[in-house]
């Protein structure tokens, strides 16, 4: 598998345009997995016209919620909050969910135990089918944080899909790196799960048979470098029978 990351510092320079163009051309030679990692403003879907196949809710962090019945208005929460998220209400304090970073400092400091940390849904991620390959994309709900985690989710699922659905085992020469850390937003990436006769370095190894392949798989895993690689059994479970 080759991964191509399309990235820019400045907005509006044409990342999506390049990703879509590349996907169109590359799909003639390889089976593609596409991922739109710009979860904040994901636009690849506007070009590729995907057919939605699966939607998964994305749980962001937790947010503080103050129970007005228990609040004694001591003001401790507002005192400890560093994100200006606690508002002084009329007869109880309240949390501004948009400003809350979910640090839970107020939760632990509240003497009346009036503050609960409540999980929130921060977005959704999707698997869709396009004429050029499977597309993983997501939508971070407006004003939410934790986009790094959602980017990581999209990438991870795209990688997993590519690994599961390709028709050969990883070569030990393959260096798969995380293209950019979770903070590498504003990026689309195109992962190509290559198939067919043009199999590159990994080909000969793969033909050496199951025993050797298992070994390669387990070495890669034990080496701990391939962060996205699953434990061994699924390699075997998903291998086409013809091998």
């Amino acid at each position: 598998m080759k991964q191509i990351l399309i990235l820019s510092g400045k907005g509006g320079t044409g990342k999506t345009t390049v990703a879509a163009g590349l996907a169109h051309l590359a799909s003639a030679e390889a089976s593609l997995v596409l991922a739109d990692a710009d979860v904040d403003a994901s636009n690849l879907e506007l070009v590729l016209h995907p057919e939605l196949e699966e939607t998964t809710p994305f749980e962001g962090g937790v947010k503080a919620v103050i129970d007005p019945a228990l609040c004694t208005c001591c003001g401790r929460c507002a005192e400890v909050c560093r994100f200006e998220a606690v508002m002084d209400g009329e007869d109880a304090y309240a949390v501004d969910a948009v400003a809350c970073e979910g640090c839970a400092a107020c939760h632990y400091q509240c003497p009346a135990e009036a503050i609960a940390m409540v999980p929130t849904q921060a977005g959704e991620w999707y698997r869709s089918q396009t004429p050029w390959g499977v597309l993983f994309h997501a939508r971070l709900f407006p004003g939410e944080e934790n986009s790094g985690k959602l980017v990581a989710t999209v990438k991870q699922n795209a990688n997993l899909w590519a690994l599961r659905h390709r028709h050969r085992l990883p070569s030990h020469r393959r260096h798969r790196r995380d293209p950019v850390g979770p903070a590498g937003h504003r990026a689309e990436h195109v992962g190509a799960a290559r198939s067919g006769a043009d199999i590159g370095d990994g080909g000969p190894l793969w033909r050496r048979g199951r025993g050797h392949c298992e070994q390669v798989g387990s070495q890669a895993h034990a080496g701990g470098r391939d962060r996205g690689v699953l434990p061994r059994p699924w390699h075997l479970a998903h291998r086409p029978n013809s091998l």
Partner: protein, 287 residues
């Protein structure tokens, strides 16, 4: 009055509009505008200085307060690691490890430590510089490369802006997540810059939801490169009741000015009138 110039999509012309508006107000000040301040809140890619070439004072460092554990006093109870929501602390063997890059600087661990063994030390995440362009005040923030937390820098760049008598123009980062929210919060008006393409429309919807629906700030739209694309943005704005306050035409001389790094009001003087009209529209909507 604080006017935040935002957009969902990148590259729609936020900086062009923010600079154009600020310079127009500076050069032909309406009666009610005592002073003009421009704050570039796009701390990941601050570009306004490229147009304005300000004279800047020394950089202020922006720090996050991260925990430092006094090994003598620490009993390894693990309470700090337990309360940390960001997994920035871990008790490993006879040590407490602190991962500064994960820390959000909330101070919860310091407050919770039963031995008071945690103190807080500054950890640099970026810089803010303040200066002038003629009589206009100029501020921009810079997030250090690879750092994840833009919001504290935006907050420091904006410090004092709320007390300004005159007009403060904020150049916000793209998107609709935390940094964009931090650049819109507390503004009197949000100008959403977009273009009439399906992409511009798609991302405008998210930005509108944040500015108008979640933050409750009055909004208006600026269509940049007017003439390309379709009428999707027009129809959307009409349906949502959002006023379109300015259209910047898709013209070669405007694109050339932008490409040369020259503010568009300098090469296309009639745009100054248009920006002053935009300010009138904003003032009307706010009052």
């Amino acid at each position: 009055m604080i006017i935040s110039v935002a957009s969902g999509k990148g590259g729609t012309g936020k900086t062009t509009v923010a600079v154009g508006l600020a310079l127009s107000l500076l050069e032909c000040p309406p009666l009610d505008v005592a002073s003009v301040t421009l704050i570039d809140c796009d701390v990941e890619a601050p570009n306004a200085a490229l147009f304005l070439r300000p004279s800047l004072g020394p950089e202020e460092t922006v720090d996050l307060l991260v925990p430092q554990v006094d090994a003598e006093a620490c009993t390894l109870c693990g309470r700090c690691a337990e309360v940390c929501q960001y997994h920035a602390l871990a008790v490993v063997g006879d040590k407490v490890l602190v991962f500064e890059d994960l820390c959000h600087g909330c101070g919860s661990c310091t407050l919770i430590c039963p031995e008071s063994a945690i103190s807080e030390v500054p950890h640099r995440i970026g810089t803010v510089a303040r200066g002038r362009v003629g009589s206009m005040r100029f501020v921009h923030g810079h997030l250090d490369i690879g750092r994840p937390m833009a919001v504290p820098i935006i907050r420091q760049a904006r410090r004092g802006a709320a007390d300004e008598e005159g007009v403060v123009v904020l150049d916000a980062p793209p998107g609709a997540a935390c940094p964009a929210v931090a650049s819109m919060r507390g503004a009197d008006f949000v100008l959403l810059v977009t273009e009439s393409t399906p992409f511009g429309l798609h991302d405008l919807q998210a930005a509108l939801q944040v500015a108008r629906d979640e933050l409750g700030i009055p909004v208006g739209v600026v269509i940049n490169r007017d003439g390309i694309g379709d009428d999707g943005v027009d129809r959307f704005c009409a349906a949502e009741g959002v006023p379109i306050l300015l259209r910047i035409p898709f013209e070669r001389r405007i694109a050339e000015a932008y490409a040369d790094g020259v503010p568009i009001t300098q090469t296309v003087p009639e745009l100054r009138e248009a920006f002053l009209g935009l300010y009138d529209g904003v003032r009307e909507a706010v009052s």
